[in-house]
């Protein structure tokens, strides 16, 4: 757009309504988290192949 040389940018301070940051609403109290149960994992995760190996070695040594 053509216009003759003007002193200022055509400038008006037209503020917009203020923006708002978000906040988390309060939340109801949760039930307590799950309890950590104790297990003997060495027994629970004992692998079958190792089981065989142990059995065979048992026989070998028992002989």
């Amino acid at each position: 757009k053509y216009e003759p040389l003007q002193l200022m940018k055509r400038h008006i301070e037209a503020p917009l309504p203020r923006l708002q940051l978000a906040v988390s609403p309060p939340t109801l109290r949760d039930l307590p988290p799950p309890v950590l149960e104790h297990f003997d994992l060495n027994e629970a995760f004992f692998s079958v192949r190792d089981d065989f190996a142990q059995l065979t070695s048992k026989y070998i040594y028992d002989d």
Binding site: Q20, L21, A22, S47
Partner: protein, 647 residues
């Protein structure tokens, strides 16, 4: 690898990982074991526990569902199953699972869980009637009642409930946060900030592994993940609240710091509130990313309620009125829920001003009328409540907020005439309001601008000058446009001495700043000089005007910027236009000066953008073309053409 564990070392390894919160590593091992032993209670229970702790609630729900089937005798598994579904946001499934808890041992837990679900489904009255079945001395009862009161907008009562819950339960970060939130909603910012600082300091002390504040100090940290431990510190909520308070108080930098103080997480891990606030607070530096994030949030099933209004207002700020209108039309169902009547009416009128300005003007006028009435009432309240200091303070605060709303509407109204260059009418609108609201700075500033545009320099001075006087000790806090216009007004009313004095004052302060911090760029003096140079060019005195423009940009490496180039290039274009029309014939030395200057701009302007592009522009200007160097070269070729100059 982590999964290769020798027999006999599982117990020690896995419980050590859990103790050190290395849940992801533990999950890796346990998953492999679950494949080998598909019905292992140990694997399922520990996996459920670990998933819960990294807040992968659908993961934990799956584990606990299997456990309820394999071990129906264990009541806890039923609780954890329903609870995991709730935390995963699967509300209908969670409700169904909660019915399995309807027995004497779990009845209270069932009520609490069902209340949580109803609360999240925004069925506040159902949540309330469930909670009312709890024993009244249950601390959770007081705590949860506080939340319900908050949702009903009864912030003072809610605050009391939270405070008494804290007396029973001891310090709980989430409670401290809730108290802060009540203070925030009551606009009691110092009290709110005190609780926020408590939460932050405890987080730093008790959880050094969460690296609070480290990112702000420039240290790069790995994500700490969304663990249950992080959630229990309430740090994310508290720091978002701090940002919101500081933003309200217009301390944008402090607000930004609150976000970078957060325990580090990767972008995919961010919650909706943090993502929203990041988008908003970085809008100036990264507008296109900001728009992307806000639009993304709006697509999500739940988003912070302020997202909708903010996105619409930002589209308007960047003058994407079509996009704003589209979003408003596509989301008509959100309008009532998420926009206040004020915002809705304002947006409606603003969008209308693009197509039917007369109608828009009328709507804005209606709004002004209503707001004026409210302002008068509040003014009266301020005057009558002189005895109660607290009440008066609150009335003043409300008055100021209402005035801000009024100014917004008034300026939108004025802008309709401003865009048509009907400055007389704009002046009339401002004058009329000024009689009533004489204290408002925006109003006075705009009136000064509109007087200036009409060459009413004496009157313009009477409005510019008080603004400058008010900040005389820190004159660089006044915008360069205001300083420049005041100088020009002085010159135009033959008060060159006063203009000079002001210029000296600006120069002195800039020198002080560059002595303190040589890297800091300040453009005030330069812009004022550019505008004065422009003034002489506009009056036809190009020889003086152009050389002032050129001088003002020295040293080029420091002063050549997008804004300053804007002022400079207009003068050159005007000179070229008048040379082409043979209106002016500058002496050779001036032409030579121009050529040398533009050649310098080619050198120093390679990385300076010629204009700031709009963030959502589809067709980008070629990166090489959007530089001061490119435009300077173009101006040079025009000079050669017009003058038939030969080197």
């Amino acid at each position: 690898s982590m999964t290769a564990i020798k027999d006999g070392e599982y117990t020690a390894t896995i419980f050590k990982l859990i103790k050190e919160c290395q849940y992801v590593d533990a999950i890796q091992i346990l998953t492999v074991q679950l494949q080998k032993h598909p019905k292992s209670r140990a694997a399922l229970s520990l996996l459920g526990y670990c998933y819960y702790h990294i807040q992968d609630f659908s993961g934990s729900a799956e584990c606990y569902e299997q456990l309820t089937q394999l071990h129906p005798e264990v009541e806890d598994y039923k609780v954890y199953y329903a609870q995991s579904l709730y935390k995963a946001g699967a509300y209908p499934e969670a409700t169904k699972a909660s019915f399995a808890l309807d027995n004497t041992s779990s009845h209270t837990k069932m009520l609490k869980l069902q209340a949580c679900i109803k609360y999240c489904e925004e069925d506040i009255s159902a949540a309330k009637s469930l909670l009312e079945q709890l024993p009244q001395d249950d601390p959770d009862y007081i705590y949860n009642m506080g939340c319900l009161l908050y949702q009903e907008g009864k912030y003072e009562e809610a605050c009391k409930k939270f405070t008494s819950a804290m007396q029973v339960l001891g310090y709980v970060p989430a409670l401290s946060y809730n108290i802060a939130l009540c203070h925030y909603s009551l606009k009691m910012y110092p009290q709110a900030l005190k609780h926020v600082e408590d939460i932050k300091n405890r987080g730093i002390k008790e959880h050094p592994e969460l690296s609070v504040g480290m990112t702000s100090e420039g240290v790069d940290f790995h994500s700490v993940g969304n663990t249950l431990e992080l959630q229990q510190t309430a740090l994310i909520e508290a720091l978002n609240l701090k940002a919101a308070i500081e933003y309200q108080l217009k301390n944008v930098k402090t607000a930004q710091e609150a976000l970078t103080d957060m325990p580090p997480r990767s972008e995919q891990e961010l919650d909706a509130v943090t993502l929203h606030n990041q988008a908003l607070l970085n809008m100036d530096s990264k507008p296109s990313e900001g728009f992307e994030k806000l639009a993304f949030l709006l697509q999500q099933p739940s988003f912070p309620p302020v997202t909708f209004a903010n996105l619409l207002l930002l589209y308007c700020k960047y003058e994407y009125f079509d996009l704003a209108a589209d979003v408003l039309a596509e989301n008509a169902h959100l309008t009532y829920k998420f926009l206040t009547p004020y915002i809705y009416e304002f947006l409606d009128a603003l969008l209308m001003s693009q197509t039917t300005p007369e109608e828009a003007f009328r709507k804005l006028d209606d709004m002004c009328g209503k707001l004026t009435e409210q302002l008068r009432k509040l003014a009266k309240l301020v005057q009558t409540q002189t005895r109660d200091e607290e009440a008066q303070k609150k009335a003043v605060q409300e008055y100021n907020q209402m005035l801000e709303k009024y100014i917004v509407v008034l300026m939108a109204q004025a802008k309709i005439y401003w865009n048509r260059e009907n400055y007389q009418m704009v002046e009339k609108i401002f004058q009329k309001s000024l009689e009533v609201w004489c204290e408002d700075d925006t109003l006075r500033l705009n009136l000064a601008h509109v007087l200036f545009m009409q060459n009413k320099y004496k009157k313009a001075i009477s409005f510019y000058e008080p603004i400058v006087t008010k900040h005389y000790d820190k004159i660089l806090n006044v915008s360069a446009v205001v300083l420049a216009n005041l100088c020009v007004s002085h010159i135009m009313t033959s008060n060159n001495a006063q203009a000079e004095e002001l210029m000296k004052k600006i120069e002195k302060e800039e020198e002080q700043i560059s002595n303190d911090d040589p890297n800091k760029k300040v453009f005030h003096h330069c812009i004022v000089n550019l505008v004065i140079g422009t003034l002489y060019c506009a009056k036809g005195n190009y020889e003086f005007g152009i050389s002032r423009v050129i001088k003002s940009l020295e040293p080029y490496n420091n002063k050549l910027g997008t804004d300053t180039w804007f002022y400079a290039k207009r003068c050159f274009l005007s000179l070229l236009e008048n040379m082409a029309k043979h209106m002016v014939v500058p002496v050779d030395s001036v032409i030579k000066e121009c050529i040398q200057f533009l050649e310098q701009c080619e050198v120093y302007g390679k990385t300076v953008p010629a204009l700031i592009e709009h963030p959502l522009e589809e067709s980008r200007i070629h990166i090489g073309k959007n530089t001061v160097a490119y435009e300077a070269r173009k101006l040079l070729s025009l000079i050669y053409e017009v003058t038939c100059w030969k080197e």
